[in-house]
């Protein structure tokens, strides 16, 4: 039997199972945004988005079945991205209040103990 005569059902099953998981996670993210979690809303939404991306990359982009070289390249972009965030925020976190963009002088009067912007 040639490959063109095969009609394997599994080509539908895995993508649809992942789709169900992604949609449920999307609904969970949307629903949780309406819960009064205050400062935790955004971290929760981003955590759910992170899980969705991992599912997508592993199962739909097939990183789970790829060579180590492909996985290394996929992770490399994220590693460089983390460097960009770390270096930029280390600058902003360590600046004196008066040097922060958008901070009026009056705002910084009471910031003598905690000199960082955040």
């Amino acid at each position: 039997m040639s490959s063109s005569q095969l009609r394997p059902m599994h080509i539908w099953l895995r993508p649809i199972a992942v789709w169900v998981a992604l949609v449920l996670l999307g609904v969970a993210s949307l629903g949780s945004a309406y819960l009064p979690l205050n400062a935790f809303n955004t971290p929760l939404n981003l955590a759910i988005a992170g899980i969705m991306v991992i599912l997508l990359w592993l199962f739909l982009m097939d990183l789970i079945g790829s060579d180590a070289l492909i996985r290394l390249i996929a992770v490399a972009g994220l590693v460089w991205l983390s460097f960009m965030f770390a270096l930029t925020f280390s600058d902003y976190f360590s600046r004196a209040c008066e040097d922060q963009p958008g901070r009026p002088a009056a705002f910084c009067v009471d910031q003598t103990i905690n000199r960082g912007a955040f």
Binding site: S4, G26, L46, M84, G102
Partner: protein, 210 residues
């Protein structure tokens, strides 16, 4: 000559190595795209950390309905694209072409809803400038990033639709064998565009909903 033999290109010794080469190339491109969108996300993170109240006020004005519908459309399009790739490996030509066409339609539907959303945003005057309706002025930073991020994403998606459409026509006219790794490359790009929307959705549409 078999389909597999037609798909094989110089300098690859076999189709598996050629497929691996395509995967390396497209993932290197995606790594560069991660940094491209990463710069925009970094700008968003810094400005949101500096002006949390302005971002809360500005974020509440986005159209969460359109954003959610578009998330569903893109997630579904990623599934049809994956089925197209898997079907191509089993020689299921009609399934491949149907799934590519469906992927393209879902992408076009995304752009249609994006157009409705932009229209609603413009009607509310949410274009940064002299007559911007929200206060404080830092709310314009959020909306500036919104237009740039969603606009660049829409351009990526439009390019993806064109490439998927071209691929479907090429496969339909049998100018390219089903075994060609080009399908894998196109699919990986499409999934990346979906990935970007998954990240943008909570940052732009789920701010201050509680």
């Amino acid at each position: 000559m078999s389909d597999a033999a037609t798909a094989l290109r110089e300098p690859w010794p076999d189709l598996d190595r050629q497929r691996e080469g395509v995967a390396v190339g497209i993932w290197l491109f995606i790594a560069s795209e991660v940094l491209f969108f990463g710069a925009l996300l970094l700008g968003y993170a810094v400005y949101r950390a500096l002006s949390p109240e302005a971002f809360r006020i500005a974020g509440a004005e986005t159209e969460v309905f359109y954003g959610s519908v578009n998330l569903l459309l893109l997630l579904t399009s990623s599934v049809t694209m994956t089925i197209a790739v898997d079907a191509s490996r089993h020689g299921m030509r009609r399934t491949v072409i149907a799934c590519l066409a469906l992927t393209m339609l879902l992408g076009a539907a995304f752009l249609m809803f994006k157009g409705f959303e932009y229209s609603a945003d413009i009607a509310k005057g949410l274009l940064p400038g002299a007559h911007f309706p929200l206060q404080p002025p830092q709310t314009q930073l959020f909306w500036g990033l919104y237009w740039v991020m969603t606009g660049v994403h829409a351009i990526h998606l439009a390019i993806g639709i064109a490439i998927v459409g071209a691929l479907a026509v090429i496969l339909w006219r049998r100018l390219l064998p089903l075994e060609s790794p080009a399908i894998l490359g196109v699919a990986t790009y499409w999934h990346f565009v979906d990935t970007v929307w998954i990240i943008l959705f909570p940052l732009l549409y789920l701010v201050d909903r509680s």
